[in-house]
């Protein structure tokens, strides 16, 4: 489903290279965890996957379902099924949450040649998904992410994911700032989306989330490269021994 080949990317503004020859393959149905110390390029990778223009790909390619997506803009990638749950969800005063959800869902449907949702159908879906994630209706009446607590913001990201039904879900530190109950709700939300035609990339620092969302593969990112890959036991190893050994071997 996702094939990243020898990817090099830099910050467009000042040319600093952040991703330095990264290879990663994620198959349909797979849950891949990406771990790595702070500053190793995990968020940058997630932004590049979703098409943020602050970064420039200088070498290599990203294939999604066998086709390069480098020429697609962020909204096209989203409409094709790539979703990023942000590490820091963005507040937008003046944009109503419900209106935002409706526009996003319908624009993606339009792109795919599907009919727009009727208002009752839209309301039904939002209500159901919100109830599953224990999101209070009052939160949905506020402007987008404005005044949401850290945990509410993360849950709102998963709500969007559930409504947009993407094929490739990238979760950037969705676990940070969540207490154990919220973590469980969020993990359930992600697990509910697991299916043979969908892939999930979970970016995290901690083993904790991976107890609930059990990964098929684990990859360690360091200085813009995948320096080690393995199965879920690798996550346990990292938890026990830290990154030092792996980083040492890679350096």
């Amino acid at each position: 489903m996702l094939e990243i080949k020898n990817l090099h990317a830099r910050i467009a503004e000042d040319g600093t290279e952040i991703i330095r020859g990264l290879d990663l393959t994620v198959k349909a149905g797979e849950v891949a965890a990406i771990m790595g110390p702070n500053g190793s390029g995990k968020s940058t990778l997630s932004y590049i996957l979703s098409g943020r223009e602050d970064y420039e790909v200088t070498e290599g390619d990203i294939l999604y379902n066998g086709e390069s997506i480098l020429e697609l803009d962020a909204s096209e990638r989203a409409a094709k099924g790539i979703f990023l749950a942000f590490q820091y969800p963005v507040e937008i005063p003046g944009v109503a949450t419900m209106q935002f959800l409706k526009v996003a869902m319908n624009e993606q449907r339009k792109y795919r040649g599907e009919d727009e949702l009727t208002t009752p159908e839209f309301m039904r879906r939002v209500k159901e998904a919100a109830a599953n994630l224990k999101i209070a209706p009052d939160m949905l009446r506020r402007p987008l992410n404005v005044g949401f607590s850290g945990g509410e913001k993360k849950r709102a990201e998963i709500l969007q994911m559930a409504l947009l039904e993407p094929k490739l879900c990238v979760l950037d530190e969705t676990d940070s700032g969540l207490d154990i109950d919220a973590l469980r709700v969020v993990a359930d939300g992600v697990n509910a989306l697991r299916s043979p035609d969908r892939a999930v990339v979970v970016i995290t620092h901690y083993q904790r989330l991976l107890d609930y969302i059990v990964p098929d593969t684990v990859h360690v990112l360091y200085r813009g490269q995948v320096v080690k890959s393995g199965d879920k036991t690798l996550a346990h190893e990292l938890e026990a021994n830290g990154y030092a050994d792996i980083i040492g071997a890679a350096a």
Binding site: G51, D54, I92
Partner: protein, 425 residues
């Protein structure tokens, strides 16, 4: 012969003077009104329209910008338009003709031409000063309008829409409106055009709020892309009166909307909110002066501008705090989103403070899209043009949301904004 008559009139100046000459004998007014009209038009002829050398018109050189003025056409016809907020009482002036069909309880109204004919309008026709070009043009040529009084203590349930509809030609209207003590009302002064043909509109509203009156006054300017709109509102607030002024410019080619007022009573509170939606080759100027004349009065002004294409915008905001007006609290801000390289906005906030115990502040910024917000919307599959429109909309919608007590009003104004943006973005 007066030396000043030597100035060579521009096409627009000649057209205005000609419009007057052609209508002599037909323009309503008693002896006093007619002689005032003569004086005003004579001043226009000798001084001409203001240029950038006149400080108050520095950013809007009317003499250069006003290329032509369509001839007055009394046979012009325009269709009826629905109220912007459903359920409002509509008092309209269509092509200069007043229509008084739905006068709500607690309100009295008559056609302004009656006040011209009986001479009671004369005092109000005086200009505000030598640079009051709008007052001068309007006073010389005014034909119709409405004189409205809201009774003491009346609380109007639905908005009153003063609807000025012009299909083409010229319209010069006046609206003296008084609010009795403790009256509560929402008035929507709405200017619109029903055709793409050019029209020239001057309109002066003269608003007085007696003690404790609480008024929302919305000026909604939605004229056509070839129209000139010269608007002015004069206002005066008594003790503890509250005036919430809301100006939305969403049309017109050459627009100047002036707001000049006084907080004459202690505890008076003035709020100005302005939204300028500017596109094409339009030039739009909002000029505000407020004089705090007594202690303990307050004001806040927030202006948000969205400028596309080659449009130009101007905001001049001047707050005067008189020597005796201690404990005044005045705040002013003007934020602009420039959406093309050729778009332009000039902001000139000014404070003149003669008292020493006051709190006043002002700020002007030019904003850009927040890249992170834009990316967030794109990453949810919202195409870039739509995402940008949402952010522009959010930038101004925030201000409309302040009127949340009246949901229908908020919805109507948000509708105006999103319809405009859909057409221009």
């Amino acid at each position: 012969m007066n030396m000043q008559q030597a100035i060579k009139m521009t096409a627009a100046e000649s057209a205005l003077v000609d419009a007057y000459t052609a209508q002599i004998g037909d323009l309503p007014g008693d002896g006093a009104v007619l002689s005032l009209r003569d004086t005003l038009v004579h001043e226009l002829r000798t001084a001409g329209l203001p240029t950038r050398r006149v400080e108050a018109w520095h950013y809007t050189d009317l003499r250069t910008l006003l290329r032509s003025v369509p001839a007055a056409d009394s046979t012009a016809f325009s269709e009826r338009v629905d109220a912007i907020v459903p359920g409002s009482s509509v008092l309209s002036v269509r092509n200069g003709q007043a229509e008084l069909k739905t006068i709500p309880e607690g309100v009295t109204a008559r056609s302004y031409s009656e006040s011209l004919i009986d001479g009671s309008a004369a005092a109000g026709l005086a200009v505000l000063g030598a640079d009051d070009a709008i007052g001068r043009i309007n006073g010389g040529l005014v034909r119709g309008g409405l004189e409205i009084a809201v009774a003491e203590g009346a609380e109007l349930k639905a908005p009153v829409e003063i609807q000025v509809v012009q299909s083409h030609g010229q319209a010069h209207t006046r609206f003296p409106v008084s609010f009795g003590a403790g009256a509560k009302a929402t008035v929507i002064e709405r200017h619109l055009s029903t055709s793409a043909e050019p029209s020239f509109v001057s309109s002066v509203s003269d608003v007085t709020l007696a003690d404790g009156a609480d008024v929302i006054w919305i000026i909604l300017q939605q004229q056509g892309p070839a129209d000139t709109h010269l608007g002015q509102i004069r206002f005066d607030l008594g003790k503890d009166a509250k005036l919430h002024l809301f100006v939305i410019n969403a049309g017109g080619k050459l627009v100047r909307q002036e707001l000049h007022g006084k907080a004459s009573g202690e505890g008076a509170d003035v709020t100005l909110r302005g939204i300028n939606l500017l596109g094409g080759d339009s030039h739009t100027d909002v000029t505000f002066t407020l004089s705090h004349e007594v202690p303990h009065s307050t004001s806040t002004e927030i202006i948000r501008n969205v400028v596309f294409d080659r449009a130009k915008g101007v905001f001049q905001g001047k707050i005067l705090v008189a020597k005796d007006a201690q404990k005044t609290d005045a705040k002013m801000s003007c934020n602009t989103l420039l959406l093309s390289d050729e778009a332009d906005f000039s902001a000139k906030p000014e404070l003149e403070i003669f008292a020493d115990d006051v709190q006043c502040g002002h700020g002007a910024t030019v904003a850009d899209f927040d890249r992170t917000q834009l990316f967030y919307l794109l990453s949810r599959g919202i195409p870039e043009n739509k995402a940008r429109a949402m952010l522009v909309n959010a930038f101004v919608a925030e201000i409309v949301e302040e009127l949340e007590d009246d949901e229908a009003l908020v919805e109507a104004l948000e509708g105006v904004i999103s319809a405009w943006l859909e057409k221009h973005a």
